[in-house]
């Protein structure tokens, strides 16, 4: 059992899962005929292909699989959360607050948290993006919650 849970086996499994989801949703689209293809033709074809490729990958996984690469999960979580927070804050709160929040959340991916350094960096980046995006490129971006 342990041998089955390797990198390529999981890769193939992911293909199968996605192929299933794609094919389920494809039922909603008209398939048409080869002569006059409907919107559902290509999704069905791709779903089946993906499933076949997934099965092939799984079948040979015991031979082909290599070890998982090390991934910095902490950085992945912090950066993703930082970006999502930025997406939520950008419109209502403006660039200034969104940037500070983004920089601090991203900064959490380091083992040592340096609030002062991050603060300086955040302020410098705010100034730079204000100069580049708002002042010189004239983008309609809100800077502070009370701006325009």
């Amino acid at each position: 059992m342990q041998r089955l849970i390797n990198r390529d086996f999981l890769a193939g499994l992911m293909c199968l899962v996605i192929a299933t989801l794609v094919l389920l949703q494809a039922q909603a689209y008209d398939m048409g005929t080869l002569r006059n293809m409907g919107p559902g033709y290509l999704p069905r074809f791709l779903g089946v292909s993906l499933a076949v490729l997934g099965l092939i990958t799984m079948a040979f996984s015991a031979k082909t699989a290599m070890a998982f690469p090390a991934l910095n999960y902490r950085a992945l979580v912090c950066i993703t959360v930082g970006i999502i927070a930025f997406a939520y804050l950008m419109r209502p709160a403006g660039l200034f607050i969104a940037t500070i929040v983004l920089v601090y959340i991203c900064g959490l991916s380091e083992r040592r948290f340096r609030p002062v350094k991050l603060g300086i960096l955040a302020l410098a980046l705010c100034l730079m993006s204000y100069l580049v995006f708002i002042l010189s490129l004239n983008m309609p971006i809100r800077l502070f919650p009370w701006s325009f």
Binding site: R7, P43, I84
Partner: protein
């Protein structure tokens, strides 16, 4: 005479203030990210892709291309001084470049790689100008069946050549094709895979995909990796000058490297790394003193450097003439064309001669700029190596999110970046290559359209693909590729080629 007219047109386009400025911007950024380890050209190009919306298509391509070939110059600097490749394609330069630094010949190594890069690029740009237009003229007679077959060949070749496991490479292409389906179906107007979300009606934003998969993923992969920069090399101007022997020993390797790089760059799915690896291997084979390699042989740095620069330029041949991108960078170039409503394909050169010839001339200008940026300013780049990553990566993320937001002022695009960042990390974890995905995403909609048209014209007869000599040839090549990959998988003699991230 026509060629002179075309070149004059190119000069008139490339020498406008705007294009010169963006060319300088592109090559400087390229040089910068090439020098700094942990920031690749793909991340940089995706970061600057939103600027494409603000400038004309030619200007956008001039800048994006500048980043690409500029990074090829910069990549060798860190490789030579610190044994740390700035770009994947310069990792082979470490082999002989770092020993040269230890022998106190860092200046010579930097000088010679710059010259090799320059010569490699320059010759290949001439090849591009000479061969691209006739190739496009030939391809312009293709019908929809031929196009479909050609794009399929491009995708299959990219999928199979780019990574060790052909099934996973093809699966990555299929993921890309599926992402390309999302949005309104052009033929019927039906919403596919939009789940009622209005921001998906126009399809997924290529900038968000590229930024997530290349930018965010790269940052995540590099955070926490402590890069120790201890070297305090003082590069004086005098130490740059090579001896007569260095020049003599580099002459033919540079030409051979250029030839190899040009050939490799044209192929789909190969990229610049493979060119430099093959050039190194060839030099070692033809050398009368193969034992010198790895101990500071000048051929060991000049041949690969000219090869990767040549490959970076010749990759534009299939991209601009056939609309077939060889790697992820070229896919982004096509994306920039699509953003401006230019359909990639053989008619690009005849419909937009100013774009093609302007680009050709800008390559020449850009390479001269890089020569100037490199040789007198080497010391400055060396100092840049010391920018700590903890300062760099929040800045990269911020520029990514503001950049993607600036396209539509849509917070959903920022969400997509986060989503594709996670997808990119899953790809990394499970060993899928991201480049075939992007290729599939770009080519998918065009392929579906051509396939439908071919089927409509042939009344649903699949034999049309084998009746036409052009498409039959492409299908024969696809079959040969698949058979070869199965055969070599069985023989298990596949050599893992360097991964181009």
């Amino acid at each position: 005479m026509e060629i002179l007219n075309n070149l004059a047109l190119g000069v008139s386009v490339a020498f406008t203030i705007e294009n010169l400025m963006y060319c300088a911007l592109g090559v400087t950024i390229g040089m910068l990210i090439g020098v700094i380890p942990g920031v690749g050209h793909l991340a940089a190009i995706s970061m600057l892709l939103p600027l494409t919306y603000y400038v004309p298509a030619t200007t956008a391509l001039v800048m994006l291309a500048g980043i690409y070939y500029g990074a090829q110059y910069g990549g060798s600097t860190a490789a030579i001084l610190l044994n740390l490749p700035g770009t994947p394609s310069s990792s082979v330069v470490c082999l002989d470049g770092y020993p040269m630094t230890k022998q106190g010949r860092a200046g010579v190594a930097l000088f010679m790689t710059t010259i090799a890069s320059f010569v490699g690029s320059f010759i290949t740009v001439i090849v591009l100008a000479a061969f691209a237009p006739p190739l496009a003229d030939f391809a312009i007679a293709f019908n929809s069946a031929d196009y479909f077959a050609m794009m399929l060949l491009g995708l299959v070749a990219a999928a199979i050549l780019v990574q060790g496991n052909p099934a996973k490479g093809l699966a990555a292409v299929v993921f890309g094709l599926l992402l390309g389906i999302v949005g309104t179906d052009v033929s019927t107007g039906i919403q596919r895979y939009t789940f009622g979300l209005t921001f998906l009606y126009d399809g997924l934003n290529i900038v968000a995909i590229a930024m997530g998969i290349f930018g965010v993923t790269e940052v995540v992969a590099n955070v926490g990796k402590v890069i120790q920069v201890k070297s305090d090399q003082k590069i004086t101007f005098r130490s740059l000058l090579p001896t007569r022997r260095d020049l003599k020993e580099s002459f033919f390797p540079i030409l051979r490297g250029t030839g190899i790089g040009t050939g490799i760059g044209v192929l789909p799915g190969t990229g610049t790394s493979i060119g430099s690896f093959i050039a190194y291997a060839v030099e070692k084979k033809v050398s009368r003193h193969p034992e010198k390699f790895g101990k500071g042989a000048i051929e060991g740095i000049t041949a690969p450097e000219s090869a990767n620069n040549a490959a970076a330029q010749s990759a534009f041949i299939p991209t601009l003439t056939l609309g077939i991108p060889g790697d992820a960078v070229m896919a982004l170039m096509l994306g920039a064309l699509l953003i401006h409503g230019i359909t990639p394909g053989p008619s690009v050169i005849s419909d937009n001669p100013d774009l093609f010839w302007g680009l050709v001339i800008s390559f020449l200008i850009g390479n001269v700029m890089l020569l100037i940026l490199n040789i007198p300013m080497v010391g400055l780049w060396v100092r840049l190596l010391k920018i700590p990553y903890p300062i760099l990566y929040p800045s990269i993320i911020l520029f990514i999110v503001i950049g993607v937001y600036s396209i539509n002022y849509s917070d959903m695009d920022i969400m997509l970046v986060a989503l594709f960042g996670v997808i990119g990390c899953v790809f990394l974890l499970l060993g899928f290559e991201p480049a075939p995905l992007l290729l599939g995403f770009i080519l998918g909609p065009m392929m579906e359209e051509n396939f439908r048209r071919a089927m409509l014209l042939s009344r649903g007869d699949l034999m049309v693909f084998l009746d036409r000599p052009v498409s039959a040839t492409f299908f024969a090549m696809i079959a040969a590729l698949i058979v070869w990959s199965i055969y070599s998988a069985i023989r298990k003699k596949r050599v893992a080629v360097a991964k181009e991230f």
